[in-house]
Amino acid sequence: MTADDLAFLPLSEQTERIGRGELSPVELTEIYLERIARHGDALKAFITVLADDALAAAREAESEIRSGNRRSPLHGIPFAVKDQMLIAGVRVTGGSRSLADHVADRDATVVARLKEAGAVLLGTLNTHEFHMGPTRDFPFGTPRNPWNPERTTGGSSSGSAAAVAAGLCTFSLGGDTTGSIRGPAAYCGVVGLKATWSRVSRDGVFPLAWSLDCVGPLTRTALDAALVLRVLAGHDPHDPTSSSEPVPNYAGALTGDLEGITIGVVEEMMTPPHTGTEARTAVEGALEVLRGLGAEVRGVRLPLMDASKYITSPLVLPDAVGFHRPWLLERYDAYDVNTRVRLMVGAALPAGMAAQAERARITVTREVLEVLEGVDVLVGAAAGEGAPPLSYSRRVTTKEEAVHGLFGAGAVAGHHSRSASLAGLPALSVPCGFDADGLPLGMHVAGRYFDEANVLRVADAYERTRGGSNWPQIE
């Protein structure tokens, strides 16, 4: 097996090889650092690479494992985190010029938990500025899709998805407010999981909107996501919103069979204008596979789903400007144009509209929960098409332009992921095929509160039938 083959192995296989002494954490870390050096500049996936620290951590992991002290399945496994999560002594920018020299004085809880589990931190990953998107001018370069560098990665966890797809790390962490893990995962052909809101601590993570923000893993397989989530999940005294719900052995639920599982296929996630023929066909193919594994598949409707596009901005923007206010007053010009104008919209929105949006959120949530009383998971396309071409947004000067961009027929970004976010449900995107241009397509699976196990079970069962993985050839 070549070094490049090892780089693309799932976490579950790497950890088995490490356990058997067939793969060294130092060797694996060196492979990724070499690949980052080779491809990093073209893809702009990383912001900061911690080569020396990573090699030191890998040597320590190797020594501990050799002496019989194996901390977890993640021990010796290289990972990277969205440049949104604090790392002690490391520059963490939020993808913003305004924090270009900000060095964190502590680890975010999720970073600390992964280090404690023995995982090897390679560095920080590129992101849309402060996780809002779309960023007009990326201070650390525009992230590019490994499947085609002229296509977008999606956002805001752009580097997190690109790095896993390109074989620059085994897994990554991203942040998801209304789809920022699942969208990039779909466009880049990796698994991206947002757990139940409150399942994973947000301590030490730059916020966007506190009642929606989630941290989660991007991985090569659902089993890998299960292994990482097991380490991340659980109450954190530093995050009072984190849940005390017991953390199950997610990987143990991945049996490959779907007997007794009922899947609701969401019509609003499968039809125009939000979903194209290729994305629909790919998901329908996956559903046939799931049916063959014993799942009952039936159609369901979420008529309020499209209304979510009117709800998220009045919820998110006022919340975000509350966090950014001190920095905006101090260094407004250091923010990207797209970020700062949207934050100012949040500052000017009437408070009554935010309250109205919160109530509308309840009606959307109630609709989703009622449908979930009759099915175990909700499935649909994770995005309406393969990754679109990179585009560089320009100034909006009229209300009509803004209405078209926010609510018009072409405003499909986020449609497939927002309802699960508004309801706080666990959800993931799993690759389910390719379009005619060879770009990945994703299937979205959402479940009941704290039922990540069934969400992962469905994705894993599908993956088992899919055979060997296909990864991009990077020039």
Partner: protein, 65 residues
């Protein structure tokens, strides 16, 4: 519904201490008016009839699993 003007938006922002350049103000005003137009769509979700409980389960008796 009536749109807000750039001058009105500038005053609202200035009252909070924000001084934004003219080019930004045009875009902020356009985007704000678009959002305000979207509030009519929120009405169609019957938001006013929603019970005033928080959507997120750790904060009340609405936890539903």
């Amino acid at each position: 519904m009536q749109d807000v003007t750039a001058e009105q938006v500038e005053r609202i922002l200035a009252a909070q201490g924000y001084a934004v350049p003219e080019e930004d103000l045009v875009e902020i005003t356009a985007r704000l008016n678009a959002q305000l137009e979207g509030s009519a769509a929120l009405d169609r979700t019957a938001a006013a009839e929603a019970e005033p409980w928080h959507a997120l389960f750790p904060f009340g008796a609405t936890r539903d699993r």
